[in-house]
Symmetry: C2
Subunit: 248 residues, 2 copies
């Protein structure tokens, strides 16, 4: 598939597009995407974050960003920025309580706008936070950009693995390499007595990664700091850089 001329412009400015996906919702994909973006920026890269979850954009809140994007000439807009990361999201374009009651074609055109009509500037990497499922948004993205790779986030339990396998199948078909898997909410340690519980199962995602020869990039425990960081807009890598969660 030869790339359209428009794509050449976007690809010439952004060296790498990396998707963060999970198949299933609520496993910590958006939390992982924002922390990955901030961690890469702390290492000196020029980083963008595209919130492709058109129906449920949570990146503005997670990155602690609000306000409307400014015009950038032509029909372009500027991304908003915090912690050195540039962000574009449907959550910046409509009020929080607006539901995007849109069918596929509308969603596809919103994605195209967020890629092409944003003055991203020159970036080393754009992290794309994908919504759950394998529908219009995922198909459109694979058709519009050349993904350098995908990071898969899962919780340990069997139910989440069903959806992880579907996401892996989708990336295989689209010939997108899987860079690794992150097992999130791996365990909970009681702050008082130290007892550890595997509320969401034990090691399912790690076993699946091993079985398929995919690198396990890390295991993140359940932690109050991670959850309160996402509600407050301070990603954990910023709040507690030295903590185990941040190092993953």
């Amino acid at each position: 598939v030869p790339m359209a001329p428009r794509e050449k412009v976007l690809e010439s400015k952004i060296r790498r597009f990396v998707a963060v996906a999970s198949g299933k919702g609520g496993v910590g994909k958006s939390t992982t995407a924002v922390n990955l973006a901030v961690a890469l920026q702390l290492e000196g890269l020029r980083v963008g974050l595209l919130d492709a979850d058109v129906y449920g954009p949570s990146q503005p809140r997670m990155l602690g960003v609000s306000g409307r994007p400014a015009a950038a000439g032509g029909d372009m807009v500027k991304p908003l920025e915090n912690y050195g990361v540039k962000l574009m999201s449907m959550g910046l374009l409509v009020p929080d309580d607006t539901a995007m009651i849109w069918r596929g074609p509308m969603v596809q055109s919103a994605l195209t706008q967020m890629l092409d009509a944003v003055a991203w500037g020159v970036l080393d990497v754009i992290i794309i936070d994908l919504p759950p499922g394998t529908g219009d948004i995922q198909i459109s993205l694979a058709q519009q950009v050349r993904l350098a790779g995908a990071v898969i986030v899962s919780t340990p339990q069997d139910i989440a693995l069903l959806d992880v396998v579907k996401a892996l199948t989708m990336f295989e078909k689209a010939e997108v390499p899987v860079l690794g898997m992150i097992q999130n909410m791996a365990s909970w340690q009681c702050p008082d007595c130290g007892r550890t519980d595997h509320i969401f199962g034990d090691g399912g995602a790690a076993r699946e990664a091993k079985k398929r020869g995919i690198e396990l990039l890390g295991e993140i425990p359940l932690s109050l700091a991670v959850r309160s960081g996402s509600d407050a807009g301070t990603p954990i890598v910023v709040a507690e850089p030295q903590s185990a969660q941040a190092k993953t």
Copy 2:
């Protein structure tokens, strides 16, 4: 909008269609839907469960059901059944590792098939487990059946509320009454020392329900029995009927 003749046939056999929705994924919507279905059956109702999450169907596993649906004459198929609940799901029609890499129109026709081409028989209520978001599946459903109401499931934290508000907006626009809200993963109690932690926040969904005059149908704590029940296909109402979780 006058109902099509086909709809009259379906509506004449099924007295009530109730949707279980959340807007956000991973908050326990499928777990709530299967337990609601089984609980209503235990009270003597004839209950069906439609797994409308075409991209990530988890009801076959949660209800402990497997196998292909049998032909029922014409192009109809029979639903599968367990604990007295009739189930239809994409998960029964394709192998677990098949990803539905489908755009909107394919999804809409799959939903229509699961409503019309299934020999549901006469039922008092069908519980419809909706996927996250406000896209093609939700729009098609609201156009195809007259929903008697919707139950909204949420976890307590702010991030989940953003999506709950969008789901509420969607139901308002579609003139579907909201029957109530369930706050799931409300807290975790340490089995050793009894300390309680609000891992996913404290009471956000309950406050939102109160603000909007929506009945809070119940609060469900995080529990190992709930999670292992869904992985094993024994809904908690069946495994521990007397437990607090089951009573909600």
